[in-house]
Amino acid sequence: MTGLPRPLTASTTRRSLIGLGAAGAGALALAACGGPSVGGGSGGSDGGSAAEETDFSSVEPATEIAFWTSHPGGSKDVEAELITKFTEETGITVKHVTAGSNYEEIAQRFQTAQAAKDDLPAVVVLSDVWWFRYFLEGNIAALDPMIEKLGIDIADYRDSLVADYQYEDKQWALPYGRSTPLFYYNKDHFAAAGLPDRAPKTWQEFEEWAPKLTQGDVAYMYPDLAGYAGWTLQNVLWGKGTAWSDDWTLKVSDPKTIEAMTWVQDTVHSAGWAQVASSDSADTFAAGVCSTTIASTGSLVGVLEAASFDVGVGFLPAGPVDGPVCPTGGAGLGVPSAITPEQQLAGAMLIEFMGRPESTVAFSGATGYMPIRKSADVSALLEKTPQIQTAIDQLEVTRTQDYARVFLPGADQEMATAVGSILTEEGDVEKAMTDLQTKLQDIYTKQVEPKLS
């Protein structure tokens, strides 16, 4: 018994613990001073536009890099094949990392890695709503000097897709898994309803067709709220002569926008020919639950494989106002700013390889995403999946997305919430849109405007 330690006396314990606590608290208070540097102002661009460009003329590429991807459109296998070819050609080893299952998850990891200042990849998949935020925070590097060094033929990329990543006369990413929404229709249902074998030219025309489409549970399925409702609804807004925004001027609570969203609500509640999907509307469509839906071209191959009926695809229906009604979407590839020039150059080489005509054809064939190069030979691709031609053709009539949707942090989520209240709770449209306008304006004022140069 005598060999065992006794409990300490009360006074010793108290003093020891107080001393330990004080020392610990001091040390922890110092430790807590890590993280971002704190300034008194409201911020400013963290370097995306201000960062000095590296002179790559004497830089040699790194021999080992990481590629962070969410494998858009189920592209894991085709990505792996392309990476193997890249390594054979260049000798650069690529760690193929599943950094998330969607754009939001990969963004979460990328941003966390920025905060930790560690473990950044050389190439990252970035979606249409994330790249600008990365630019604002100085997380991605301008690709121009790398494009020049590698002699990447930007003019051969499809113009509208390349332009999506340009800001302040610099190129911040290059296209990768790029898509547009497509109108999917069940050919069997259309035939049974006596409708022509084509997508409706306008929503007005579809309103006339919808009552005849009784073979499924519902004629038209809106994409689920988690599936970028703000993206596809731009089609309706643009067709009715309005938008989420005009550059940085919000138009969410404009009378025309409220009128357009009231029409959307009526299609679900008054007319009753539409519903909102509970999960991916492409899956719901492929299961035959609905006769038509709008989903990404990235879902095309999956739908064709899953559906037990003939699938038709067409351009998005137009509205009463002339002009493009189809937004672009999908993801590009970017290079982090906080890695070495050697890593950046090797990353840019991978981006160049993934964007080659033959690579983009392979990628499109496996996913349904659009070939991003003008010179890509799509004949074999079209032989296998002729529906992709529709997506390529539609690209000529696309429109750049509204700033409010793609450039405001959290705007997609706020739009989904507002649309949800309108469609699933039959809420007051004017109130929902006015509230949304207030929230988006607040986001712009606090989070974006101070950082715009």
Binding site: Q111, Y134, G138, P409
Partner: protein, 308 residues
């Protein structure tokens, strides 16, 4: 007057540690210091760092931030979204804690019966508790799916249509609460079962001899004697419910109607808003809430506990 009065102005005498005392102190430090260092590094340091971040206007991924003091807290407590998140947290916690404990007790009473197959039944009842919340959420999504789900099929057989479990915020909250109670029911049942099996049988038999029926014996004897178990479960299930995340995140990724505090904290940082400072403030609010609830329970609720 104090019995330890010293001369005015004279410093108090410090009691020196004896050789034995010093040895004990060294033993204490040798044994406790590694754990204290680890806890300080991986628990208290992040905790304090998080409190510090909660005073910043900081966009996740940004290298710079602005100090705004209590601005994030003011925004949270004055915004409709903040109030809604607190309401959802309270509803979710009350329903899941109450549901898990009441149903867990009923299940424990059934499992306490001396009939064949109870060992298998006990294992089956406890199994959901040890399953991954992500897996549970995915499976229940298939069950609740209004188009393809098993539940929708049963409702169709009855001539009913399925509620919009995922799209309607109210039904989404009901859905995640049902799944959460199902997953945690077994835990409460097994803990209650242990309590039931340790009840003094002589007291119960005496009551039976005095003519007390099963309901009377349960209400007047078993339930009061189970109060230590109930108290333990009240604390653990409440802390668990307040920190519920996996099922909510998997079944309702947008958080419409289900954004309890911890989920709202996640959504604000990682769900598209990238508001790391605001998210940290919500985490601190949740932390303080957990502390207050635990202290209140220990200080006041425990007084009602009957220890045998």
């Amino acid at each position: 007057m104090s019995s330890t009065t010293t001369g005015q102005g004279a410093p108090p005498r410090r009691r020196r540690l004896s050789g034995r005392g010093r040895r004990d102190a060294i033993w204490f430090l040798a044994l406790a210091l590694p754990n204290i260092v680890l806890i300080a590094l991986f628990t208290y340091r992040p905790l304090l760092t998080n409190v510090y971040y909660s005073t910043l206007d900081w966009t996740l991924g940004s290298a710079s931030a602005t100090f705004i003091g209590l601005g994030n807290y003011v925004e949270f407590f004055t915004s409709t979204a903040g109030h809604e998140s607190i309401r959802i947290t309270v509803v979710f916690t009350l329903v899941t804690v109450g549901g898990s404990m009441v149903l867990g007790l009923l299940l424990a009473l059934a499992l306490n019966a001396r009939i064949p197959g109870t060992a298998i039944a006990r294992s089956a009842a406890f199994a959901p508790y040890v399953l991954s919340g992500v897996g549970v959420g995915l499976v229940w999504l298939f069950i609740f799916d209004p188009d393809f789900g098993v539940l929708a099929w049963f409702l169709r057989q009855l001539g009913l249509s399925s509620p919009e479990w995922m799209n309607d915020p109210t039904m989404a909250l009901v859905m995640v609460m049902v799944v959460y109670i199902w997953k945690n029911l077994g835990y409460c049942a097994i803990v209650y079962l242990g309590g039931l099996q340790s009840l003094p049988q002589d007291v119960l038999q005496a009551a039976a001899l005095d003519g007390a029926g099963p309901l009377r014996r349960f209400w007047s004897i078993s339930l009061p004697l189970l109060s230590p178990t109930t108290f333990f479960l009240l604390i653990t299930t409440m802390l668990s419910s307040l920190q519920a995340f996996d099922i909510l995140r998997i079944m309702t990724p947008t958080g419409r109607g289900t954004n309890a505090l911890i989920f709202e904290s996640y959504l604000q940082a990682f769900g598209g808003y990238s508001r790391a400072g605001y998210s940290a403030a919500i985490s601190v609010v949740l932390f303080l809430m957990l502390i207050v609830i635990t202290v209140v329970q220990v200080r006041f609720v425990e007084k009602k506990v009957h220890y045998a």
